[in-house]
């Protein structure tokens, strides 16, 4: 109910589906839990992925840096400054620097008067090409003499972009002061970076794929966890619905620690409800007892005397009796409306009623032939079913010559039909309506009150059922009762 109206009263500008799944997550526990967990999972995984790939790249570059620093050291050791300031570079024992384009390069340069670096000597592997030197490099080298500054050379060897010359390089540079030379010298070393780049790329692809799968897995796990975790709540909801529908009288299952108190409170509420009803019924019964004995006295006293006064007393006593009965029944019906979840199998009630009424009408020799499916149950209280069947059967026995036939059956639609027939004189069609009215008597000469049928009508109505009267093939009256039922 709240879900249906929630879409309407939510933020009006939001489209419905959006509002349903993304808006106001507070309306659904499931959504709230799933969204919260998912957001946290995504955030954590993105941070993890970023940190991992970053760390991998950093360590790869650090390794390259070590190699380059080593090359620079070798070149520095092999370099001599002549007396005239000319630099000569001896043999650098690194095979990859000896023949052209082997992936490892070095160069020795000096800062020119224009602030740019002028390359003096280069490794054979450079094959006359140059290493890219960013414009701001000389200034940075000058500012941090002796330190190694590394950078990526994206274009590769000049003129870049073509063939093996296009490979990306990692370049390290350091400005050093050589003995016997006033001007500082810049040593540069470069190495092919493409393997590292590829590895980093592969690592990133792998990492992000794995994290994506992990993330999806976690979200699915959270979803399942929430569904399974909330299952007891759904079960509880179903059980409460069963109680309301009368399929159960209490919450019977045991629930997890967190929900069990709720289930117990519901049961306590049901108990309380039942107690209230019982109390009301007891009061009503007490009132009945208190009033009926005095009424009996008045009736008997008036019956023993002749004259207008006893007549009036007797008539008025009858009216009082009818009124008391009627209002007590109303009170009982009101109490009944609050009752939930009662189930009464019909067979035992029919059996006890038949045994009892055959005993009562033993002199007449009435035979009650009753049939009912064993699994058929009335969705209501035993007392009420006794009241319904007792009155109908007693009425039938009263009028029957010998036979009363009762058959109960399910209609399959949560309803049952009870048919009570007798082989008595029956009832003319125009009197049937009156027979169902309150307080009317079908025949003053038949002992007992004529209220039986009106009680049946009121009770049946309270249960949302129906009573109808027609002719029986046995010759007498046929009463058909429709009541809420349960077929187990």
């Amino acid at each position: 109910m709240t879900d249906g109206s929630g879409g309407e009263t939510g933020v009006a500008s939001e489209p419905r589906t959006w509002g349903r799944w993304f808006g106001r997550p507070g309306r659904s526990l499931t959504r709230r839990l799933i969204w919260l967990a998912s957001a946290w999972i995504v955030l954590a995984l993105v941070l993890t992925g970023w940190a991992l790939t970053n760390q991998y790249q950093e360590s790869s570059l650090r390794r390259l840096g070590d190699v380059l620093a080593n090359t620079i050291d070798q070149v520095v050791l092999a370099t001599n400054a002549g007396a005239d300031g000319r630099l000569t570079v001896g043999e650098v024992k690194d095979d990859r620097t000896l023949s052209p384009l082997q992936g490892k390069y070095w160069a020795v340069a000096e800062p020119g008067p224009d602030g740019r670096l002028r390359i003096l000597v280069r490794s054979p592997s450079l094959a006359g090409e140059s290493l890219t030197i960013p414009d701001e490099l000389p200034a940075r080298l000058a500012a941090a003499r002796g330190a190694i500054i590394s950078y990526n050379d994206p274009d590769g060897l000049r003129p870049g972009g073509e063939g093996p010359l296009g490979v990306p390089l990692r370049v390290a540079a350091s400005m050093k002061q050589l003995p016997g030379r006033a001007e500082p010298v810049v040593f540069l070393a470069g190495i092919d970076r493409s393997n590292i780049d590829r590895d980093t790329q592969q690592f990133a692809t792998f990492t992000w794929t794995a994290l994506l799968i992990l993330g999806l897995g976690l979200v699915i796990a959270v979803f399942l966890q929430v569904q399974i975790g909330l299952r007891p709540l759904y079960a509880l909801r179903n059980e409460i619905a069963d109680v309301r529908m009368g399929r159960a009288s209490r919450i019977a299952r045991s629930y997890p620690l967190e929900i069990q108190p709720l289930a117990e409170q519901v049961n306590r509420l049901l108990d309380h409800n039942q107690e209230t009803v019982e109390r009301q019924r007891t009061h009503v019964g007490n009132l009945a007892h208190a009033l009926k004995t005095p009424l009996s006295v008045m009736l008997a006293e008036a019956g023993q005397q002749k004259g207008p006064l006893p007549d009036i007393v007797r008539r008025q006593t009858e009216v009082m009796k009818a009124q008391v009965d009627h209002h007590l029944r109303r009170a009982r019906a009101a109490a009944r409306a609050q009752m939930l979840g009662e189930i009464t199998p019909i067979e035992p009630v029919l059996d006890e009623m038949a045994v009892m009424l055959e005993r009562v009408f033993e002199e007449k020799g009435v035979v009650i032939d009753w049939r009912s499916p064993e699994n058929l149950a009335f969705r209501g209280e035993r007392q009420d079913l006794q009241e319904l069947l007792g009155n109908l059967l007693e009425n039938a026995c009263k009028w029957a010559r010998r036979r009363v036939r009762v058959s109960a059956g399910s209609t399959g639609l949560g309803q049952m039909i009870v048919v009570v027939e007798d082989d008595g004189p029956g009832l003319p069609e125009d009197q049937r309506e009156a027979a169902l009215q309150r307080g009317s008597r079908m025949d003053e000469t038949t002992p007992g009150s004529g209220l039986g049928l009106s009680i049946v009508v009121e009770l049946t109505r309270a249960y949302g059922g129906r009573v109808s009267l027609s002719d029986s093939e046995l010759g007498g009256l046929k009463a058909v009762l429709e009541l809420p039922a349960l077929e187990a």
Binding site: T293, L299, Q304, E352, V360, V366, I368, R402
Partner: protein, 226 residues
Amino acid sequence: MRVLLVEDDADLSRQLKGALSDAGYAVDHAADGEEAHFLGDTEPYDVIVLDLGLPKIDGVSVLERWRREGKTTPVLILTARGAWSDKVSGFDAGADDYLTKPFHTEELLARLRALLRRSAGIASSTLSCGGLRLDPRAARASVNGEPLRLTSLEYRLLHYLMMHQGRVISRTELVEHLYDQDFDRDSNTIEVFVGRLRKKIGPDRIETVRGLGYRLTPLPGESDDT
């Protein structure tokens, strides 16, 4: 005829006493449950009128005690609580008839006459089969001393089976004796009633003989002390 009237309301007691005396009964009166139980236990009454709402011990308990002690005197209960559940519990306790207050005195007298007619001639030869006992004249049956509550059709079936115990009786024969001539005969009727009887007397006393019918036998180990 001696009648015990158990009623706590003074006015109603006086009226009923008068009416019963006028009708020719010798009336004793008890105003509470204890006195009623004592009188019913010690005096040989022909019939008892018992109000259910009594001081000290309630009517149903008094009745239960009498029945437990083997008293078979017919009892008519008077109840202000007209509910059928009260009537049923009265019958379960052993009542023979009920009357709901307020009632007409003539009706009470008519009911008492009927009760007395019914109880006349009880205690005759009984049929037995193991723990089963059946008294044809009182139309009462019991199993291991416990009274059985049978409907008249169930009683008729049991009666016929007991008269022919040990013999296999066909469904056709049973249905003919169960119903009067003009009653409709449903093919599965007998199964229904045998099923109900088994629920009340125990599942193994009536044996189904496939294709032939039913046979009533004492349980193994039960001595048939007819």
